[in-house]
């Protein structure tokens, strides 16, 4: 076999080569081509040293602050609502749902008209997403509630928890509004309280004195938010489980819960 050309070597490295096996054998046997490949690798390795400057913490917030005033208000038309993107987006959400093995079994075991019901699918998707969101929120709240300053410690760094709380705020707002629109009052009020606590954490200084930290802990405890989050999370889990097992009166649980 002749020596490999530069193009063939690059294509081989990229996994784009058609006769991969033949080239692989040739590379094992031909020291010249191996040397040539090493030279190409050296160039790619050199590319990796190009540094990317860090745009700074909260870069997303900064971008938003710059573009938000320039974004025009969107007025949804009836035909837009009826026709597509959001319907297609829902179809995308359905695909994401199918990816969740949790539901995959149900879909294959009990195909029926209810599976194709976009409203029900949407509700299930929301159950999964909010459950995940509450799980992450609970973790932050627990970490803060259980942390204690070390003896003689003057300042406590809570910047990690702050960043995580800040990351959760926007999603929280989105779920709260969706719950409100869907008439799920308990969910909406829990998310509303959670939002205030997350905002409180996000707006605290990076480093707090033990006294300030205790005040944050007291505010978390006073609102009983951890317990509420756990209750709603537990209900969502039950809802997910009841969605897996066929239930003739599937919507009853939601109706009952909203009566509380």
């Amino acid at each position: 076999m002749n020596h490999m050309t530069e193009e063939e070597l690059i294509a081989y490295r990229d996994g784009e080569s058609r006769s991969r096996e033949g080239f692989s054998t040739h590379l094992n046997e031909c020291a010249d081509c191996r040397r040539e490949m090493d030279r190409i690798e050296a160039v790619f390795a050199a590319l990796d040293i190009l540094p990317i400057p860090d745009p700074g913490e909260n870069y997303g917030n900064r971008v938003w602050a710059q573009i938000a005033p320039r974004l025009p208000e969107k007025h949804a038309h009836w035909w837009q609502n009826f026709l597509q993107p959001r319907r297609l987006v829902l179809a995308g959400a359905m695909a994401a749902l199918v990816l969740l093995a949790f539901y995959a079994g149900r879909v294959t075991k009990h195909p029926g008209p209810d599976v194709a019901d976009a409203g029900k699918v949407r509700e299930r998707v929301l159950v999964v997403a909010v459950g995940d969101h509450l799980g992450r929120s609970e973790m932050i709240l627990m970490e803060l509630a259980n942390a204690e300053p070390e003896k003689g410690q003057k300042l406590m760094n809570i910047s990690t928890e702050q960043k995580r709380a800040e990351d959760l705020l926007e999603e929280n707002r989105l779920y709260r509004q969706t719950a409100l629109r869907d008439g799920d009052t308990l969910m909406a009020s829990t998310l509303d309280e959670l939002e205030r606590v997350l905002l409180d954490i996000a707006n605290s200084p990076n480093e707090v004195t033990p006294a300030q930290f205790e005040a944050i802990q007291k505010r978390i405890a006073a609102k009983g938010i951890l317990l509420k989050v756990r209750v709603v999370k537990q209900e969502l889990r039950q809802k997910r489980e009841s969605a897996v097992e066929p239930q003739p009166h599937g919507s009853a649980a939601t109706t009952e819960r909203n009566k509380i």
Partner: protein, 215 residues
């Protein structure tokens, strides 16, 4: 086709809700998407444009255009991938525009005694920029920036998306509005040019590094 930006199932779901609410008139819902994907887009934009100022402009413009075209967003793609393509296309325009501006601002071309045009790049080359000196990371990085700047916008896009972002040829072809064979050739030309420009320095650097390891 593999998504350029992989989104977890939960992310895909929350993206879908954010898109839905934005389309329903809740402008603030778009913030979730901006917050989630800004950094990804910034990295791509920096590698394509080579400077923070242009990269930040690309990020803002990509999200502005994304918002304006949101009704065209189809649910068969994830939002991250979609806005990534918008950003890559705008970055190409920005690089082209910059090259035109630079050419306009450049001093009139000089000619040698025999009437040949003097190569401006050859003129700015440092006489002391020996391979040994460029073996240092900072200098190699500077050399590389120069080599990347000398690629055409399409070549630069191709190498950034292929090498750093790990995109499939089909994805790159979609951004370049080209076919897969032509895109493969573009990737090859980019690598060959970078190789020509960087190989002496990259090799020396590797040798220096190897010597350091051995000693």
């Amino acid at each position: 086709m593999k998504a350029i930006i992989e989104a977890s199932a939960t992310q895909a779901v929350t993206d879908a809700f954010a898109v839905e609410r934005t389309l329903a008139g809740d402008r603030d819902a778009y913030r979730v998407l901006v917050d989630r994907y800004s950094l990804y887009i910034y990295r791509l934009a920096f590698r394509m444009t080579g400077n923070s100022h242009d990269a930040e402009e690309v990020v803002q413009e990509a999200f502005m255009r994304g918002y304006q075209k949101l009704t065209q967003f189809a649910g068969n793609s994830n939002f991250g991938t979609w806005v990534y393509r918008i950003a890559a296309n705008y970055a190409i325009d920005r690089i082209r525009q910059r090259k035109v501006e630079e050419a306009r601002q450049a001093t009139p071309s000089k000619t040698t005694e025999d009437g040949l045009e003097v190569d401006p790049v050859a003129q700015v080359k440092e006489p002391s920029a020996s391979p040994e000196r460029l073996a240092g990371s900072a200098e190699l990085a500077a050399k590389m920036r120069q080599a990347l700047d000398e690629l055409t916008p399409a070549e630069r896009t191709a190498i950034v998306m292929r090498h750093w972002e790990g995109c499939a040829i089909e994805e790159i072809a979609a951004v370049l509005k080209s076919n897969t064979n032509a895109t493969k050739n573009t990737v090859f030309r980019a690598v060959a040019k970078l190789r020509k420009a960087l190989e002496p320095f990259a090799e020396v650097r590797n040798t220096v590094r190897a010597m350091g390891t051995e000693s």
